[in-house]
Amino acid sequence: MSEKAPGIYKPLAVIVAIIAIALAIWGSVTFAAVSGLIWEKGPAVWSWGAAFLSLGFGFWRVVGGIFWIVGTALFIMELAGFTIRNGRIVRQVIKWDSIDIAIAALVAAIYGGGLVATAGLIVIPGFTWIRPANMLSPVFGILFGIPGCVGLAFGNLIADALGGFLGFGSIGGFIGNFILGYIPYKLMKDPSLRSSRSVFEFYLWGVLVGSVWCSLYIAWWLDLVQAIAGLPPLFIWGWFAPFVMVNNAIVTAIVGPALAYVLYPPVKRWGLHWSDRITFIEKS
């Protein structure tokens, strides 16, 4: 998989990695500095919260709506046995045999258990908390494909149940976490993390796009069902959305590439990599 990539990818990988890490560190440091004050002064006290709110609820509802519709369509399509390949919708055969079921279940257990075992500070009671185990999501996606993404979705549900967060918002979290693994799985051409192109793709799709998509997907869902979920829009868009984005980005930017680099060879050797277990049927 790690074929020689054009030289352009080396500087691109460095630039995208620096942008992703800098944004994530900036977001988390500024969040940590004002997290005590948010209770008193509202989400606008955090620079990211203020930036989000300055764009207005209307903007986020349109942008989030686009991400939500596309994300939901992709989720349904993949589970129905179809996928996009080379710009066309093709049928894919995932066996869902014992190994796929075991992979999905163990990913769910590791992700759910990891989220619970490494849980620290609650950021919004009943909705989210600081989640170091999110670092696993793009890694599971690029290693195990759809069974890994389904495992991530169920793992998030299990963590919600154990943390006392399981509510109507968890439906958004279910698909949002699927997307967190799905985006790098689908868009990374080289999942080995052994070339500059692979590193560039990981930071672009796994860290930046995945984090933004997951965050906007869940936030838009919470906004849509606010009458049921019970979280005010001011906190959905001023606090929840930027926090989820920063949390996902920082853990995946710092740890994700190292994890994927170390785990890719054994996964490939044991025949558990998605590319060894999936068949695409392309009809002309």
Binding site: A102, G113, G151, A161, L259, L263, L272
Partner: protein
């Protein structure tokens, strides 16, 4: 908490004996009445009564102390959060009712109604759903999903994950202890350096779990998992009149309380 049976806590309470499908319908009923109250009626007394009913269901199931601590802490946190943020987010008119001296928070009757109703809207369904998991064997929940025509291979994933959850949590703790004994300090350093140290925890965990996945796959194959399109169970779930009566009782209770409270205890 050991999570020996996943989230399930063995017992013989009323809720343990109800069909899991009836419990799921009950939780949906709680959700429906909570939504109606949280958005249209906005009566905190009614919201509090629904909350009390799910709390009674939870307590009567005799869960472990973990659940009391979890939902005790969560209830306080959500009430605090709602009282703080809902009045700030949605400025309403109404009569000034309460000023909290040290904090300086001011509440009108409408703001207080809104904040408390929203808090109960979040809390009651969460506790009702948790009660389902605490009082239902994972296998019974799996069977309930299959009976509702959920594809059984997909339905088996969360059930198997719940079975492995205790193993994973123990593994994570063991690996953390082992790495700490090798001088890994997870609690020290800047945020990025603390996050980076988790690589030393998750890599060995993943390697062990991948080996487990292969062994588990063989074990499932040897038991003929997935060989048939439909799945049979050695002990079939049976819907009894008892389940219907419990559901009618709860629905009637919520409906009667709604009428009585909105007519005679309007706030």
């Amino acid at each position: 908490m050991s999570f020996e049976y996943g989230l399930y806590v063995p017992g013989r309470s009323v809720f343990h004996r109800i069909d899991p499908r009836a419990k799921i319908i009950w939780a949906l009923t709680v959700l429906a009445f909570s939504i109606y109250n949280g958005n249209y009626v906005m009566n905190p007394i009614y919201g509090g009564m629904i909350y009390a009913s799910v709390l009674i269901a939870l307590i009567s199931s005799k869960p472990t102390s973990f659940w009391y601590k979890l939902f005790g802490g969560l209830s306080v946190a959500i009430l605090f959060f709602s009282l703080l943020f809902w009045p700030a987010s949605v400025p309403l008119g109404g009569k000034p009712l309460l000023v909290i001296p040290v904090l300086g928070w001011k509440y009108t009757d409408l703001a207080l109604r809104l904040a408390l109703s929203k808090a109960f809207l979040v809390l009651s369904p969460i506790i009702a759903i948790a009660t389902i998991f605490i009082t239902s064997r994972p296998g019974d929940l799996f069977q309930a999903l299959v009976k509702w025509r959920f594809p059984y291979r997909l339905a088996y994933i969360p059930i198997l994950a719940l079975r492995f959850l205790p193993t994973v949590i123990v593994e994570i703790r063991t690996i953390i202890d082992a790495q700490k004994s090798r001088a890994l300090e997870l609690e020290k350093g800047s945020i990025p350096s603390r996050i980076r140290k988790y690589v030393a925890v998750f890599v060995p965990l993943m390697i062990r779990m991948m080996k487990s996945a292969l062994e588990l796959g063989v074990a499932l194959d040897s038991k003929g998992f997935g060989a048939m399109k439909t799945r049979t169970f050695s002990k079939e779930l049976r819907w009894r009149i008892y389940d219907t009566l419990i559901l009618i009782m709860f629905t009637a209770l919520y409906a009667v309380m709604l009428i009585v409270i909105t007519r005679f205890l309007a706030w």
